[in-house]
Amino acid sequence: MKKYILTLAVALAFGTGIAQAQWSEHKGLLWSSLHGLEYEFKAGVNFGGTSPLPLPHEIRSIDSYRPGLAITIEGNATKWIDEAKKWGVSVGLRLDSKSMTTQATVKNYGMEIFSETGGKIQGLWTGGVETKVRMSLLTIPILANYKIGERWKLVFGPYLSYMMSGDFDGNVYEGHLRTPDATGSRVNFTGDNVATYDFSEDLRRFQWGLQVGGSWRAYKHLTVHADLTWGLNDIFQKDFETITFAMYPIYLNLGFGYVF
């Protein structure tokens, strides 16, 4: 978290720095404009979830969902290619945060619980599972831009993310564990009995996916946007087999931006 705040502060300072530099150098902006370049600074909030798609048989019901506070900050540059400035390409740098908490009822869900000695208990869980996902990412969206009229703009393209820090943990409750496999011992959990798990170490650092969205220019400098980011690789590392299905981050980013 500390690391995240620090990065955020640096990015803000950097952003403001650029902004101030830009303010004071109208010439620069003018030059940029003449060369079809445009800069934007965006802030938003991520809503969504990290989920297997489609939901596997193991998940019987989603009992609760809470999005976490997930603020994003992005600076990007767009190069308009054609004369009419309809088509463009943009590259950005975004501080992304994706978080959620869910409670689900599962059946025969692969589970591994590590102890502080490095030993573990593993098996199949049937019952309640609470999952907390928090990821802080540095994302580079590379997007095609298409303008429809003066105010509307559509974007589409891939994004690459580097996860700076991430947690994937939670607990299991009200159910039973079959350990170590489908023919093992049954261990019941009821009432206050919970067992905690933590798969944070198994999260993948590099993530990528597709982003599609649109923005609306409310005023000369102010835009509002909605961007959907859809992860296309499993958030877990390849050799992680405890959760038998892949999970993908799918988030909608809503926010506003300032166009220089």
């Binding site: 019901s61 590590f114 079959r178 909608l252």
Partner: protein
Amino acid sequence: MNIRKIFAGLLLTLAVSSCIQDEALNVEAAIDDCTGENIQLASIDATHKEIEIYVLDGTDVSQQELNFTLADGATIQADETEAGDQPPYYDFSQRTLRRFTVTSEDGNTTATYVVRINKMELPTHYSFENLRATTPYHIFYLTNESGIMQWASGNPGYELSGMALDETQYPTVQDPIGHSGKCVRLTTRSTGSFGLPLGMPIACGNLFVGSFDVQNAVTAPRQATHFGFPFTKIPQRITGWYKYQKGETFTDENNEVLSGQTDIGDIYAVLYEAETSDYTLDGDLFPLTGGINPNIVLMARIGEQGQQEMKETDEWTYFDLSFEAQNGKTVDPEGLANGKYKLAIAFASSRGGGYFRGAVGSELYIDEVEIICE
């Protein structure tokens, strides 16, 4: 317009992703419990898929009732049927060892169990020389000319904590250097981050005659501990050898340090009334407050009034405890002959271990134990 499209797209996504698929059939295939008329003790070894069932000598086993509790949706079938089989009644008169295969609801998982009916008298001399199994933890057995029987321990419960990296790191293990030959070493150990939120921060090493029901080890650990086996003689004394070292810090069920309290081990044997074959004492036989279980007739326990105290020592020390009448009861000779009494024998590295009170590191070594009868 476009925003609306995007939202529509998002809603569609959520709709797709929130589709709960049809429930898959269960993949579990296991026997979780086995009960039935005349069964005095059923010990299920889920790792090695062995079920040892004990009935009194003279019991007719040609129509032995076996009510298996299976994983949800699973089915069970005897590998080779006998003429007298009428499930849940099975004929063990021709072969005392039979195989049963459990098949999961989805048909993809099977597990074959060896089920054996034993008619055995409880041995009265214990040397702890031999192990029934060494992985994932040590399983001791008692034996005499009438058969063999596992010593039960809390090791299956400790396995859940994931703390032990090999069999020697469990609370109950065999030690190569006993008073004579090998012995049993009981150690109070931490259950780590698994046990603490469950109110079970420690696991004391224990060894007892009976069975440990791992299914309920988390929800009701004391009730999951079943003590005792039918006994047809009147025990007078329990003798043997021990060594004891207490751990440093005494903690309670919330892992709070209770300063001023020190740990001590436990050695006891009780004879109790068991009107039905499935009745056993559980881990609550000596409650923290109030009297001992009212079914107890005779008791020999170290540290009780009039008995020897356990002391901290690294020398093998002899103990000799006499069975004393309890609850104003006397032994009924007819009931004794008919198997209406059971004997529980237990050793533990922390006397309050059943209530998760003790000191991590407390160690009790036990060897060459004998029950002396009239």
